[in-house]
Subunit: 490 residues, 2 copies
C-alpha cells in the first residue's frame, strides 16, 4: 500500500500557481477544488483512495468539470504545466486505476458532474450519454424507452459509464451482449493535447480509418479522457427464467453450456458457475440468501443459467426440456427452475452474495482470470494441484462467468490459519503459481478488471515484448508528455 507523503501542497491563494487560479476561475467554485484555496483535505479524500482501501494517494487538486470544453481546458492547462491527470468515474475500480499517486502533484479529474443523458434514439437502438452517468442511470434511461442497455455489474449504482468504457467492463450479461467495448458505438474523447475528438457516432458500420474508439476503450485513461459515449440498445426482454443446476463436475458444466447454447441460441443470457465452497460461504455468512439453493444438496458445482426473450412466456419450456435432457445425459443431477421473477432474483442474489460472504470469511488472494471455456476444467484441476503442493490445505473460492471463460479464482488460508497473515506472506507466490498456469492455458491475468497500478508489473513481465513495444509506441505517439494517468497499464 502506498503511503501519502506529508501534505505540502495546501497553499494559501497567494502561493498557488497562477495557472491553477486561472483554471479555478474558469471552472467556478464547484468545478475545481484546491486545498487551501477553496477546499479542505476532507473534500478531496474520497477521491484519493479506493473503496477497498488498497490505494491511497494525494492530489494536487480535484477538477470537477461540467462540460466537454471544461474537461479540455483542464487537460490543456495541466499539460502545459507538467501536471499529470488521473481521470476518475465512480471510483469503484479494483486495480487502483483512478487513484492519484502520493506526490501531491497529480490532478484528479472527476467526470461525475457530467451526468446527462444526451439523447435516446429508439429507432436506431442507440443512446448518447455523458461519461459521468452512472451505469444504473444509463440502464434506467433505456428502460424508460422500453429498451435495454445490458451492461450489468455489482457496482452499477455508483460506477460511471465512462469508467466502464475506460476499463472495458464485463459483468453478468457478456455471454449474450458482450463487454462494454461491444456495447459502444462511438466516443467523445479529450486527447492528451486537450483537443476534442468528436467520435460520437451512432452507426453500426463505419470503415473510415483506424478504430480510435476501441483504442480508447480499455486504455484506462492513459491515452485520453472519455467525456461522452454513444451506446447500443436492445429490445427489452419481456420474460426471463433462471435455473440453478447441480452439476457433478466442471466438465459437466462445460458440457451443459454447450447443450444450452445449441438449444437456447441467443436466448441464453447468462451462464454462471459456483464451486461448492463459495455457496457454503454464503450459507455460513448470509444463510437467508443461500436458502434458494438448499434443495440441491450442496453439489460440487452449481450453475446459474438464465434465458430471456422479448416475447412473454417464451422460453420456460425450452429451458425445462434442456435441463431434463442434461440430467438424462449425466451433465446435471438436479435443477430448480424459477417459478416467479422473485425466485429468479433470489437465484441471482445467491450468486452476487459470494464476494460479500468471501469478505466476511477473511482476506483472500484474488484473481480475475480468463482461459478458453473449453480449457476451464483442466485449468482449475491443474492450478488446484499446483497450489496444493505449495500451500496444502488452501481454500479456493472459485466462481464466475463460465460462458465467457472468466473465473474469479481466489485463494485463502487453510481453515484455522489467520487469513491476513497468510495473504501477506504468500500473495506473490500464489500469484506466480496461478498466472503461470494461466499462461500455460493461453489465458489472461485480467479478464474484466483491467491493469491499473495493481497488475502493471505483472503485465510488463507476462505480455510479449512485441505487444509491449506496440503499446508503448502508441502511448508515446498519443501522449508524448506522459500526462494521462501515468504509471497505469504501462
Amino acid at each position: 500500500m502506498q503511503q501519502p507523503p506529508p501534505n505540502q501542497h495546501a497553499l494559501p491563494e497567494a502561493d498557488q500557481p497562477a495557472w491553477l487560479l486561472e483554471l479555478a476561475r474558469l471552472l467556478g467554485p464547484t468545478g475545481l477544488y484546491v486545498p487551501g484555496l477553496n477546499a479542505s483535505e476532507h473534500d478531496l479524500q474520497p477521491h484519493e483512495q479506493d473503496w477497498r482501501g488498497r490505494y491511497r494517494g494525494k492530489a494536487l487538486a480535484l477538477a470537477r468539470p461540467a462540460s466537454t470544453e471544461e474537461v479540455a481546458a483542464v487537460v490543456h492547462a495541466c499539460g502545459a504545466h507538467g501536471v499529470s491527470i488521473v481521470p476518475q468515474g465512480g471510483n469503484t475500480g479494483l486495480v487502483g486505476g483512478g487513484i492519484p499517486d502520493g506526490s501531491g502533484r497529480q490532478m484528479v479529474l472527476s467526470l461525475q458532474r457530467m451526468n446527462r443523458v444526451l439523447a435516446v434514439d429508439p429507432a436506431n437502438l442507440s443512446m448518447s450519454v455523458q461519461a459521468g452517468c452512472t451505469l444504473a442511470q444509463v440502464q434506467e434511461a433505456a428502460h424508460a424507452h422500453g429498451l435495454l442497455f445490458p451492461l450489468s455489474l455489482a457496482a452499477e449504482g455508483t460506477c460511471t459509464i465512462g469508467g466502464n468504457l475506460a476499463t472495458n467492463a464485463g459483468g453478468t450479461q457478456v455471454l449474450r451482449y458482450g463487454t462494454a467495448r461491444e456495447l459502444c458505438l462511438g466516443l467523445e474523447v479529450i486527447t492528451a493535447q486537450g483537443e476534442v475528438w468528436s467520435g460520437l457516432s451512432a452507426l453500426r458500420k463505419n470503415n473510415t480509418g483506424y478504430d480510435l474508439r476501441d483504442l480508447f476503450i480499455g486504455s484506462e485513461g492513459t491515452l485520453g479522457v472519455i467525456t461522452a459515449a454513444s451506446l447500443k440498445l436492445f429490445p427489452r426482454p419481456a420474460s426471463q427464467v433462471a435455473a440453478l443446476v447441480a452439476c457433478p463436475s466442471l466438465d459437466a458444466c462445460v458440457g451443459l453450456l454447450q447443450m444450452a447454447r445449441q438449444a437456447l441460441d441467443a436466448q441464453l443470457t447468462a451462464f454462471e458457475v459456483m464451486a461448492r465452497l463459495p455457496v457454503a460461504l454464503v450459507e455460513k455468512h448470509l444463510p437467508d440468501t443461500a436458502q434458494v439453493s438448499r434443495s440441491l444438496n450442496a453439489p460440487e458445482w452449481t450453475v446459474l443459467v438464465e434465458v430471456s426473450h422479448t416475447r412473454a412466456h417464451e422460453q420456460g419450456e425450452a429451458l425445462q426440456a434442456l435441463l431434463a435432457h442434461a440430467i438424462s445425459q449425466g451433465q446435471a443431477v438436479d435443477a430448480i427452475v424459477s417459478q416467479s421473477d422473485a425466485q429468479r432474483q433470489a437465484m441471482w442474489a445467491l450468486r452476487e452474495a459470494i464476494p460479500m460472504a468471501e469478505k466476511a470469511e477473511g482476506l483472500m488472494v484474488k484473481h480475475d482470470i480468463g482461459v478458453p471455456t473449453s480449457q476451464v476444467p483442466a485449468f482449475v484441476r491443474d492450478t488446484q494441484a499446483a497450489l496444493a503442493q505449495s500451500f496444502p490445505g488452501h481454500q479456493l473460492v472459485c466462481f464466475g462467468h463460465l460462458g465467457d471463460g472468466n473465473l474469479h479464482f481466489n485463494v485463502g488460508a487453510p481453515v484455522g490459519r489467520e487469513a491476513k497473515a497468510f495473504v501477506q506472506q504468500h500473495e506473490v507466490r500464489i500469484n506466480h503459481v496461478v498466472y503461470d498456469e494461466v499462461a500455460r492455458f493461453d489465458g489472461t491475468i485480467s479478464a474484466e478488471h483491467g491493469i491499473g497500478q495493481l497488475k502493471r508489473d505483472e503485465l510488463a513481465q507476462r505480455q510479449s515484448p512485441t505487444a509491449l513495444a506496440l503499446m508503448k509506441a502508441i502511448k508515446q505517439a498519443l501522449d508524448p508528455l506522459n500526462t494521462m494517468n501515468p504509471g497505469r497499464v504501462l
Copy 2:
C-alpha cells in the same frame, strides 16, 4: 485510372539486387515471383489490377510466403531496402486497397498460400485460421463441426479472411452477428518492423493493455500484415425462414424493423431493403431471378426479412404473426413467407442479383454509405431532392442493409442518356452532393468497403482534423518508414 509506366524492372538475375535474390532463395521458387528472374509479366498481372478494372499498377515482385516466418522475412527485407509492401488477400476489394501503384517499386504480398485451418474448438465456440483461407473455407470448416461462422458476403468464395479483417467486412448477417471486427477474438500480425505479434487469443474477455487487435482490424494493411486470426463461432441454425414484404414507404420499412426487433429479438438475422428500381432492373436483366417477388406487384420498397433458430420449426409462426400485425398497422401491404429452403434461397438470390442487374444496366456512381437507421428515410428523401435539382431525371439504385443503416446508393444517368459519359462528367459533383448529405446526417462515406485509394482524399477532407491527427500519429508510431501499404487510408 492509373496507367502503369513502361516496365523497367524485369531484370535478368545478374542485375537483381542481392537482397531480392536472397529473399527468393529463402522463399523458394513458388514463394517469390520476380519478373525476369523466375516469373513473367503474366504471372504478376492478376495481382496488379482489381477485378472491376479501376486500378492497375506494376509490382517489383510478388511474394507468396507459406508461413508466418516467411511473411516476417519479406516484411523485414523490404523494410531494410526501402521497398513498400502491398498486402493482398483474394483481391476482391472495391477501393484499390490491395493493388500496387505504378512505380514498379512495391512488393505485392499475397497471403493466398497461407490457407490452413489451424484449429477448431467447439466447446469454446472458436477457431483459428491462417489469413489466406477463403471466407467460404472458414464457413465450411465451422459447418463441418456443426457450427456457424456467420460472416457472409458476395465474394465469399474468393475473398480471404485476412482481407475481411483488414477491411472490417460487413455483409448480410451484421444485424445479428456483427461485422468482421465483432467476429474476431485475436490476431497474429507481422508488424512493420517484421516482428511477429502473437495475439491469437481465443478469449472472450481480456483487459490487458491497449486493444491492438481492433487497431489492426480495418487498418487495410497500413499498420502490419495479418497472418492468422482467432474467430468466434456460433451454434448453427437448424431452421431459417425468410419473407419478402411489400412496404409503402421507407418510413414503413423502419417501422417494420422496429417491430421485427421487438417480436423476434436475436432470431432476426437479416433485414434488407430494395427500392422499386433495383428490383425492376433484376426483372429486366435477370427475369427468372425476379420471379420470386412477382406477386408483390412492384411495391415502392421490398424488405427481405429472415429469422433463424437453432431449434427446428421454431420461428415460422412468430414471423407470420409479425407480418400480419405489420399489415394491420399499415407498415406493410403484402408479404410472401418462404415455404421451403429453396424459396428462401430464391429470395436471397433476388437481393444478391441487384449488383449484376445494375452492371447490365450501365455504369453508375456508387456509394456505400451509412446513417443512423432512424435517419435513413430523411436521408434518402433529402439526398434524392438534392440530386434532382442538379441532375434531373437521374436514376437511383438504392438498396442494402437497413438493419445496419447501411445503403448502397448508386446514381445513374437519366433514361436514354449514355451511362458512362454521365458518370465521367458528373461523378465528382454527385459524390459531393451525396457525401454532404451523409455528413448532415452524421453518417459515414464508407460503411463496409473501406477507404483504400478510392476514398483517401475524401477521408482527408471529411474526417475531423483531430481524428486525422490521431490516425497519423498512430501510423507514424507503428510504421515510421511508411512501408506498409503507403498511400492507402491516410
